[in-house]
């Protein structure tokens, strides 16, 4: 009887030792806090240059355009717009215009004459990130403008109005 009991107990011990349990799940937790603020970012690349040199007899001097510039935008709001202005008015008889290609879903106002008062060039910019968009400048002159020596204007673009 003693031997039988001992054998039973020994078997139990062996089973206990051999019954390696599966890993009990160990857990740890972390809290992650996040937010995305309003972002409206634009950038322009290029140094356009415009020189009027010709005319068709009987007409105003021939307008010239420069399409060497590009622009990019990141906006995570709805209904933003881009406006532009120059710090000094153009000489009499000269008109500098800008035309920005619209990113997806937005609307371009095509060529708009630039002045010291901001004009809207693109509207309806909503939650997008897009680059390599065309920025085209045009210079018009009347004969009355005469000969105008080289001058520069810094065009300031502003993105605003998103909600």
């Amino acid at each position: 009887m003693l031997i039988k009991t001992a054998r039973t107990a020994a078997a139990a011990i062996a089973l206990t030792l051999l019954a390696i349990p599966a890993v009990q799940a160990q857990t740890a937790t972390q809290t992650v806090t996040f937010a995305v603020n309003a972002i409206n970012q634009i950038a322009f690349v290029g140094t356009p240059s415009l020189t009027i040199t010709t005319a068709v007899a009987g007409s105003a001097p021939t307008s010239v355009t420069d399409a060497s510039s590009t622009w990019a935008v990141t906006c995570n709001q709805t209904g933003a717009k881009i406006s532009a202005n120059i710090p000094l008015a153009m000489p009499a008889g000269l008109t500098l215009s800008a035309n920005l290609a619209a990113p997806a879903g937005a609307t371009s106002a095509s060529y708009q004459a630039l002045g010291t008062v901001a004009v809207d060039l693109v509207t309806g910019i909503t939650k997008l990130a897009q680059g390599s968009l065309a920025a085209t400048y045009k210079l018009d002159a009347t004969a009355a403008a005469g000969v105008v020596t080289t001058a520069t204007r810094v065009v300031t673009y502003t993105i605003s109005g998103g909600v």
Partner: protein, 154 residues
């Protein structure tokens, strides 16, 4: 004879307790704390908002279990907002396990570390990254709880 039986039974119970205690010490997973809040507020024009990463986070791991390799999974208490992504990377030496690499987290357990074995209690780095697309829009501050679970690898 009765005394022998009682003694042997006590021995069995003692061994059973030992295996339980040992099991509890085979696997340990702790973290150093929470990542600093991710506040996205910048972007390069033409690109999605700038991705942010945590720094300085670590975890402590011990995994020497005779049942075999373990794994670590991560799970969020609720999905991320549309257009945002929270990813987790947990570093580990190749001799002690395999890091799956940056893993996007959601409400489903995702394996972060696999084949973890023979880690005798070491501290390693871990990194969260938070990314948002422009389409995500403005996202007010909110939180997610990440549950890291170490368990036997299936």
């Amino acid at each position: 004879m009765r005394r022998v039986s009682v003694t042997l039974c006590a021995l069995v119970l003692l061994l059973a307790g030992w295996t339980k205690a040992a099991q509890a010490q085979f696997t340990i997973l702790t973290v150093s704390g929470n990542p600093a809040p991710f506040n996205v507020s910048t972007a390069v024009a033409g690109s999605d908002p700038t991705t942010l990463s945590s720094s300085g986070l670590t975890y402590f791991l011990k995994s020497k279990h005779p049942a075999g390799p373990t794994q670590v999974t991560a799970q969020l208490d609720s999905p991320m907002p549309a257009g945002t992504t929270l990813t987790l990377t947990m570093n580990i030496p190749a001799t002690q396990g395999t890091s799956v690499g940056p893993v996007a987290l959601d409400a489903t357990p995702r394996a972060i570390l696999i084949n973890v074995d023979k880690v005798n209690g070491n501290t390693y780095g871990m990194t969260y990254t938070f990314a948002a697309t422009a389409a995500a829009g403005v996202v007010p501050s909110q939180t997610r709880t990440v549950t890291l679970t170490m368990s036997t690898q299936p």
